[in-house]
């Protein structure tokens, strides 16, 4: 029983990790806390549902299609909204409130379009068992897709020009500008990448759990806890923190009660903020 819970926690933790990546990326690069992240994730998860159930595509094809879709949404969110705030002195507070408004918009439209009933996809991969542990194929695939993309982001940050440009802007917008990098363009791309990752995460969430619009709040709380635990803009730290959260939720549903497991993220968040506010891992941007 314990082994099964730990395996489930590990597998879902991979999804929590990739779900939180976009939040951490935007926060780390432009000091903007996207409170709408959870609702955007669930909106993109619903898009997966539309592509799979209504348009009868394969869920994995839907996942691939959501990458550019997420990128475009993120790119234009930056160009249309965030760009106007980023130079104001109180950007952190104002963007917080702005994205709170955006989360109401996204949630409201989601609830309008898809109602509040649970919706789920047909399970794409069979379940198998190994050494007495049940392994749902979809969750295993989700874990490996999530983990692979996290390592991909790490490579992107270290080796590519755009990755380095994003890190430069995260360190100092002015210095980046002095070196000929347009911080607005780089930030828009970073926002796009964040939402492309949210698209993948949304597709994975749709594959592993039934959807309802109210999941957005649960996911923004989880993502926030994961980012704080894993360190801002540190992809591998974020993945590990996601797994820590998944395991903690699993164990708490075993030891306390299943109904309370979404509250675990909150307790973990408060505990980390008080005991180890710098997170478990080194952030990419050091202030």
């Amino acid at each position: 029983m314990e082994t099964q819970i730990l395996v489930n926690g590990l597998l879902i933790g991979g999804v929590y990790g990739i779900a939180a990546l976009g939040l951490g990326l935007v926060w780390g690069v432009m000091s903007v806390v996207n409170v709408a992240h959870g609702d955007l994730l669930i909106f993109l998860a619903y898009m997966t549902w539309v592509l799979v159930v209504v348009e009868s595509l394969s869920p994995f094809l839907a996942l691939v299609l959501l990458i550019p879709a997420g990128f475009i949404i993120g790119y234009f969110l930056y160009q249309l909204l965030v760009r106007h705030l980023i130079h104001r002195s109180e950007v952190e507070l104002m963007s917080l409130v702005l994205f709170f408004g955006l989360s109401a918009i996204v949630y409201g439209f989601g609830a309008y379009l898809w109602g509040s009933d649970f919706r789920s996809l047909p399970i794409p991969l069979p379940t198998f068992s190994l050494l007495g542990v049940v392994l749902p194929g979809t969750r295993v695939a989700a874990f490996f897709i999530g983990g692979g993309l996290v390592l991909g982001l790490r490579w992107f940050f270290r080796k590519t020009f755009w990755g380095k440009a994003i890190r430069a802007v995260a360190q100092s917008r002015d210095a980046a500008r002095a070196l000929g990098i347009d911080p607005d363009r780089v930030s828009a791309v970073a926002f796009g990448i964040a939402l492309a990752y949210a698209g993948v995460a949304g597709a994975l969430i749709a594959m592993i759990s039934p959807l309802s619009p109210s999941l957005g709040v649960a996911y923004v709380g989880r993502s926030f806890a994961v980012v704080v635990l894993g360190g801002l803009g540190n992809p591998v730290g974020t993945l590990v923190a996601g797994i820590v959260l998944g395991l903690t939720e699993g164990l708490s549903s075993l030891w306390i009660t299943f109904g309370l497991s979404p509250a675990v993220a909150f307790v973990l968040l408060i505990a980390v903020l008080i005991l180890r506010p710098q997170g478990l891992f080194k952030p990419v941007r050091s202030r």
């Binding site: 917080l96 702005l98 709170f100 109401a104 918009i105 709380g221 309370l260 509250a263 993220a265």
Partner: protein, 328 residues
Amino acid sequence: MRTAPPEVILERRDPIRLLNTGLIVLAVVAAGFLALQPGIPGASLVFWFNLMKAIVLAMSLNLITGYTGYVDFGHVVFFGLGTYVAGIAIGMLGVAVPVPLWVFVGPLLIALIAVVVGMPALRLRGAYFAIAMLSFNAATRLVILNLPSDFAGGAFGIPSPEIYDPRTAYYGMVGLLVAIILVTVWLAGSRFGVGLKAIRDDEGAAGVMGVRTTQYKLTAFAVSAYFAAAAGSVDYWFVAFTSNELVFNNVVTVEMVAAVFLGGAGTVIGPVLGASTLYLVRDFLWVRFPFLYLPMFGAVIAGVVLFMPRGIVGFVEDHVPSLRARIK
């Protein structure tokens, strides 16, 4: 360089004093109007009650978010707990305390909870505090859902048909509205209020200047939570029912945040203007496009941040300078 003679400074303070008196008179007149309202045929009690509730909730959020600068995305939790402190005592435990007394005393317990939560939470700043509160609301809702149902009603909520008396409860809300207006007017001109604004502008500097920041923040948070909780308790008295699906709803927080920022955070009159405007628009939209009203509230928040960051009050201040002293 000439410095202004002292009497000029005194004179300049006068309009503010006049204004405060004016606001109090306004509050009394409004209270009188609202108190007469149930007697006017054709007027809907529910309409005026909910308008007052929206104003009280916005003003309560304004105390911690507007004056102190701590954006709270879970403020509805105190409203919800307020309905439950009334529901559990009256509907579940049958405590022999008069309802009109308990709806004002019970929320003191919630203010106490706010102090306990505030001690760790108010050490966080900005987004950390906002999202900690958002999660606190979600967690509280789950805890109440999972409490024994003969104590907190579980998923069915707590009805108390025997206390149903909307006419009397209506006056409870009138009293609460007057109380929070008086508290805010006092606060805006007091040393305590200046201390809170100093914390909002620069907490470190405020501390160095001798503001006891922790104590100030906790007090503001507790008062803010008290009024939100009392609005919840009076609401329980008014509808004689609560359920955690309804009262821990983030939509209510969205409405509060929209009202505070639309009107002007950190002003006395701002949240009143914001909440009233949005209430009228919502009442109009709710009938025609029930699903659009949440996106509309979101759009109001986003639009205010982008185009009118200091709300209606700031907008008027910038464009009608002669009114500057009168609306602060």
